[in-house]
C-alpha cells in the first residue's frame, strides 16, 4: 500500500507543483471555508492510530541528486529494496513501531534547515539546506547497516565524508570527541510531544564519536539514498552513517555537531548503560544482555521463507577500522 502511494505521488510531483500545494493545504482550505465537521476532526485524530489512514495521504517529496559512484563502495551484497528500508525504521521521534516513522513523518519540514558545527573549532560553520547538497561533492556508498536488534540491511547512501566538514571547521588540539544532536521540534515530532509516542526517551536524541572515529574515511554525513534525497523517516535532510557501529549511532536529522574535550552523553547509553555503550561497535563476540549478537537476519527480498540468517562480522565487515581500537578491551568498551 505504501509502495502504491509513493508511486502515485511521484507522478503527482511530475504534474504540477502548484496543484500539489493546494492539495496539501486541503484541510486548511476546508477549514477556511467553514466545512470543518466531526468527520474532519476524526480523520485528523485517527492519523496517530493508523487504523483509518486515508489513502490520499501526503507523501514527502524527494529530489534526484547528482553524485559519483566510487568503485570501492559498490559492494556485492544484495541491496535491500527501497520500499523496505524506507518503511521499517527506528526513529522514535515519530513513534516506536517500525512503521510509525514512514506514517507520521511525511509532513516533516526540511527546508529551511540549519546545521551548525561549533564547540572546540577555529571556524564554526553553519550550513543551510542548500549548502548540505552543494558544499561538497556527493558520492554513493553502499554500506551494510547492522541494527543492535540483530537485523541488517544494505543501503546505497549518498553523502560526503564527515572529515571534510570537520577539517573545514579546524578542530582545536583540545578537541577529543564529536557530539551530534537531532532536531528538537515537538510540534513536528509527535514522539517528542508525548512520552507515550516517543518511548520514554529524553529528547533531543544525542550521539557521539571519538574524534579519530569521526575523521575516519568511512564515516559519512548522508543527504540521500537510492539516488534521491533522504525521506524523513530515514533522517532527512542530513544524517550520520557510521557503518561499523550499530545503527543507533547513526543519528538522524542532525542540527548540531559540537567538538568537545569530554566524552559526550549518548541517548541509548543514558537509557540503559548496561546494554548500550558509547562505542557500540558491531561485535559478534559481545552479546546484548538480552540477545545474541553472533548472527543477524539480512533483510532483502524473499519474505518469510528466505534463509537470510548470516554470521555477524567483526566491525560489520569493515576491518580497516580495527586500528582505532588497538589495545582496547572491546568487551569492556562495548
Amino acid at each position: 500500500m505504501r509502495l502504491k502511494s509513493n508511486k502515485t505521488v511521484s507522478r503527482l510531483t511530475d504534474n504540477d507543483v502548484t496543484d500539489e500545494r493546494t492539495y496539501l493545504n486541503r484541510r486548511q482550505l476546508l477549514k477556511s471555508m467553514g466545512f470543518v465537521g466531526a468527520g474532519a476532526l476524526l480523520s485528523q485524530s485517527a492519523q496517530g492510530i493508523g487504523w483509518f489512514d486515508d489513502d490520499d495521504e501526503n507523501v514527502f517529496e524527494r529530489r534526484d541528486l547528482s553524485f559519483t559512484q566510487p568503485d570501492q563502495f559498490q559492494i556485492n551484497d544484495t541491496v535491500t529494496p527501497e520500499v523496505k528500508s524506507t518503511s521499517y525504521n527506528n526513529f522514535y521521534e515519530f513513534g516506536t513501531d517500525k512503521g510509525d516513522p514512514a506514517e507520521n513523518a511525511q509532513d516533516f519540514t526540511v527546508d529551511p534547515w540549519s546545521l551548525t558545527i561549533d564547540g572546540l573549532v577555529e571556524k564554526p560553520i553553519t550550513l543551510s539546506y542548500d549548502d548540505l547538497f552543494k558544499r561538497f561533492d556527493l558520492e554513493e556508498r553502499i554500506y551494510r547497516l547492522r541494527c543492535v536488534e540483530a537485523w541488517s540491511m544494505v543501503i546505497p547512501w549518498i553523502g560526503f565524508e564527515l572529515a571534510n566538514i570537520l577539517q573545514q571547521a579546524k578542530p582545536l588540539s583540545r578537541a577529543k570527541f564529536v557530539a551530534f544532536q537531532t532536531l528538537y521540534d515537538p510540534e513536528q515530532m509527535p514522539g517528542q510531544r508525548s512520552r507515550f509516542v516517543g518511548g520514554g526517551v529524553d529528547y533531543p536524541y544525542v550521539e557521539g564519536l571519538r574524534l579519530d572515529e569521526a575523521m575516519h574515511s568511512l564515516s559519512i554525513l548522508s543527504v540521500g539514498m537510492y539516488g534521491k534525497t533522504l525521506p524523513p523517516q530515514n533522517g532527512a535532510p542530513i544524517r550520520l552513517v557510521v557503518p561499523w557501529k550499530y545503527g543507533f549511532k547513526s543519528i538522524k536529522s542532525i542540527v548540531r555537531i559540537t567538538l568537545t574535550e569530554q566524552m559526550p552523553p549518548t541517548t541509548w547509553n543514558r537509557l540503559a548503560p548496561q546494554e548500550y555503550g558509547f562505542y557500540a561497535n558491531v561485535n559478534p563476540k559481545v552479546d546484548h544482555p538480552r540477545w545474541s549478537q553472533a548472527r543477524e537476519r539480512r533483510i532483502t527480498t524473499g519474505g518469510l521463507l528466505a534463509r537470510n540468517r548470516i554470521e555477524t562480522q567483526m566491525f560489520n565487515g569493515y576491518p580497516e577500522v580495527a586500528p582505532l581500537y588497538s589495545g582496547m578491551d572491546l568487551s569492556r568498551f562495548y
Binding site: 520500499v83 521499517y88 516506536t96 536488534e149 520514554g200 548472527r295 533483510i299 519474505g303 518469510l304
Partner: protein
C-alpha cells in the same frame, strides 16, 4: 464476585454458537492473512518481526480475554458465556505456539544449538517459554475426557493460568527496548483480572 445485574442475561444456545464461530473466524482468518502477507513478501518491513509481534500480542490479548470471561459471566449472570472460555484459551495457546514456531523457524532459522542457549540464557525468553509450557499443559488437558479422568487435580493444574498471565506480561516488558507504556498497561489489566478473583486466589494459596 457479586452479581450486579438485576436480571440474568440469558444468551441462547444459538447466540453462544454465533459468538464461538465469530471467535474461530476472526482468530483464524486474521493470523492466516498475516502469515500469507509475510510469506509472499508483502509486509512493509521485516516479515519475521511483524509475525513475532502479531502472534505475541494476539496470544496475550486472547489469554486476557479468556480470563475476562468468567468475571463478565458472573457480573451479567450470563452463565453459558463460560462455554466460550475453552475455545478462547485454546486460541491463546495456538497463537503462543505460532509465536514460538516463528521464533524457532524464522528468527533463529532452526539453529538448534542457539535455540537451547537462548531459552536458558536469555531471561525474557526463559520467562516467555515458561508461560508457553503452562499453556501447553492446559491445552493438552482441556479435552473433557481428560478433565474427568484427572478429577480434582485438573483444577489444581488449571489454576496455573493465573501464573501464566503475569509471566507473559513480564516477557513482553522485558523484550522492548524503552517503550514500556504498552507492557505496563497490560500489566495493569492483568492485575485487574487477578483482583476481581482475589477471594478465589486467596483460597488457592491457603491450599
Amino acid at each position: 464476585m457479586q452479581a450486579l445485574s438485576a436480571t440474568p442475561l440469558r444468551l441462547s444456545e444459538r447466540r453462544i454458537l454465533i459468538l464461538k464461530w465469530l471467535l474461530h473466524g476472526v482468530s483464524f482468518s486474521w493470523v492466516a492473512y498475516v502469515f500469507f502477507t509475510a510469506v509472499t513478501d508483502q509486509v512493509a518491513g521485516d516479515p519475521v518481526d511483524r509475525l513475532l509481534h502479531f502472534t505475541g500480542m494476539g496470544a496475550l490479548n486472547l489469554l486476557l480475554l479468556s480470563l475476562a470471561i468468567s468475571p463478565v459471566a458472573k457480573r451479567f449472570r450470563a452463565a453459558n458465556l463460560i462455554k466460550l472460555r475453552r475455545p478462547t484459551g485454546l486460541w491463546a495457546f495456538s497463537y503462543a505456539l505460532l509465536h514460538l514456531a516463528t521464533f524457532v523457524l524464522f528468527e533463529l532459522q532452526l539453529e538448534w544449538a542457539l535455540i537451547g542457549t537462548e531459552i536458558i540464557e536469555r531471561p525474557y525468553i526463559t520467562v516467555g517459554f515458561s508461560a508457553f509450557i503452562i499453556l501447553l499443559l492446559l491445552a493438552a488437558t482441556s479435552i473433557t475426557a481428560v478433565r474427568r479422568r484427572m478429577g480434582r487435580r485438573w483444577q489444581l493444574l488449571h489454576n496455573w493460568v493465573y501464573v501464566s498471565a503475569p509471566l507473559v506480561v513480564i516477557h513482553f516488558y522485558w523484550s522492548v527496548k524503552s517503550d514500556v507504556v504498552e507492557p505496563v498497561v497490560y500489566g495493569l489489566l492483568v492485575l485487574v483480572l487477578l483482583y476481581v478473583r482475589r477471594e478465589r486466589l486467596r483460597k488457592i494459596f491457603r491450599g
